[in-house]
Amino acid sequence: MTTTHRTTDRLAALLRPGRSRALAGFALAAVVLFAVAPLLLSPFRLSLLAKFLCLAMVAVGIGLAWGRGGLLTLGQGVYFGLGAYLMAMHLKLADAGPGGVPDFMSLYGTGEVPWWWEPLRSPVATILLIALVPALLAGLLGWAVFTRRVRGAYFAILSQALAAAFAILLIGQQQTTGGTNGLNGFRAFFGYDLTDPVNQRMLYLVAAGALLAMVLVARQLMVSRFGELLVAVRDGEDRVRFLGYDPALVKTVAYVVAAVMAAVGGALFVPVVGIISPADVGVVPSIGFLVGVAIGGRATLLGPVLGSIAVSWAQTSISEQFPSGWIYFQGALFIGVVAFLPGGLASLVRRRRRRSAARSAPPAPVTQTEGSTP
């Protein structure tokens, strides 16, 4: 009885600080996103932030799959693009009215809506498909790839190739996907006029809420037993297999979650930015998604989000001054972080925290556990 008491006490002590710190952080983020930002930022800047938040959703998923699961997902543009295009197709159909034909189809195509566009007339079907199509694709692809033990660089190359193929496919189908121009010129979002500033602000709030929800989901997955197993799979896939688990299943789950998060980010990106084109979903943006995650700290909960937002912000401000300079800057940043700070900026914070903890409390945790040895 004493043993169980001691262990529950110790467990509670262990969990409490983490949990309360997380709650405080979450509350702070909510205040900043829902109150401070809308008050301080101009409508233009707020829309820009909304765009950054959509990109950060992709980063949350990558943090889980890459940081915790070790899956170098170099092709998240595919899932981002699937979500985005599904949403864009729905908006085009909605703008055209019941039974109508989207403008670009009459311009470049036969003037007929292809059969696979039809389900997207329904808003409910659209929302479901935005989650289901990427989940299904990632599930099938992940399972096929992971059971064949494709990993590391091979997996990265494969996902990159997928992103390239996806962009090429989109470009080739001018009549049905808008080709290089992509889909744009949306007027309304589920009935709300997109030119109205009030609706734009609403859209920002939806994006902020979605991002916070995803961070919560990612946190739950990370602290759960699944999260521990995911790290174990990352660090010792074969060992996990000898314990009776199928690592392919664990990886597939992480990959699917990352895909759905990317897709939701893409779906919200469309009404916020007003355009989706192959240039947003191919190889270059797919690598771009990774940069922020690496800089922020891929294995942490908030590192990917903050890193992604910071990189988006830097990209916007640098591109404003040196239009072609960003790509070099991004490359240098990526190489710098990978070479000198593999844990990302989060590892600096962690190191600092550990140091200050060591200074304020001289007995290190290891010695404490030793002290309790009977």
């Binding site: 197993l229 790290v231 660090d235 060992r239 009776g244 690592p247």
Partner: protein, 293 residues
Amino acid sequence: MTHVPTAETAAGAEPTGTAAEALLGTDSTRFRHDYLEVRGLRVAFGGFVAVRDVDLTVTQGDLRFLIGPNGAGKTTLIDAVTGLASATGSARFGGKELLGRGTHRIARDGVGRTFQTASVFEELTVLQNLDIAAGARRGPLTMLRRRGAVPEAVEQALELVGLTALRDTAAGVLAHGQKQWLEIGMLLVQDAHLLLLDEPVAGMTHAEREATGELLRRIGSQRVVVVVEHDMDFLRSFADSVTVMHQGQVLAEGTVAEVQNDPAVVEVYLGSPVSTEPPTTQAAGPLTTQEDA
């Protein structure tokens, strides 16, 4: 600086006994009369045959040691039984054929192993390592939740392998011997009933070896255990029976004394400089003198 396990924390002390009972006694009815039965096992890598015509039967309560010079095929044999290396022939445990099935399925049928180099999850704590080992049968809902209370089997295993005080330490910073113990603990919570241990005491101090030996003996009375080992002193202290492999084949089998006096075994060990020492000298003199030396 680190907590060094002693014979007492691992196996000797009183509470450990109850933990062992509780952990090893669980669910053993299912496997009670099970044994490992290997027949005509053959493993080839390309043209090279690493294991050929191996027959092996190991029963519960018979702590079996598997020895042989480097490259004899000991690890390959374990690889074959656990599904890592593809093999022909037959390997049955609990009435089930193991060959040709996926590694994780074999593990679920109660076959567990350790590796020559300790392979715990270094970034996870001791507790997390054990909790994962105990969880292969958990449903999705349990997996998606945070670990509430520590499972009883994990608690017992911590006690049994003497790592209770280090439960929240990252496994990566454990001493070598402690990692091996953690591995054994993981096998136990995994509910493995056939334990294949590849050089579990390599790199341990004398005291650690003794403690590990006692622990293995205790486990061996309830489970089917095969230990691959080069250390002859350790073998003489704890082996119930010995199988000697050489160039992929079984060279001799029997008690320690029988095997040590087998001329074929003596010759093999004379020809292999790495492991010559203990067996050669043993062949020259009686066992007791060796232990005194």
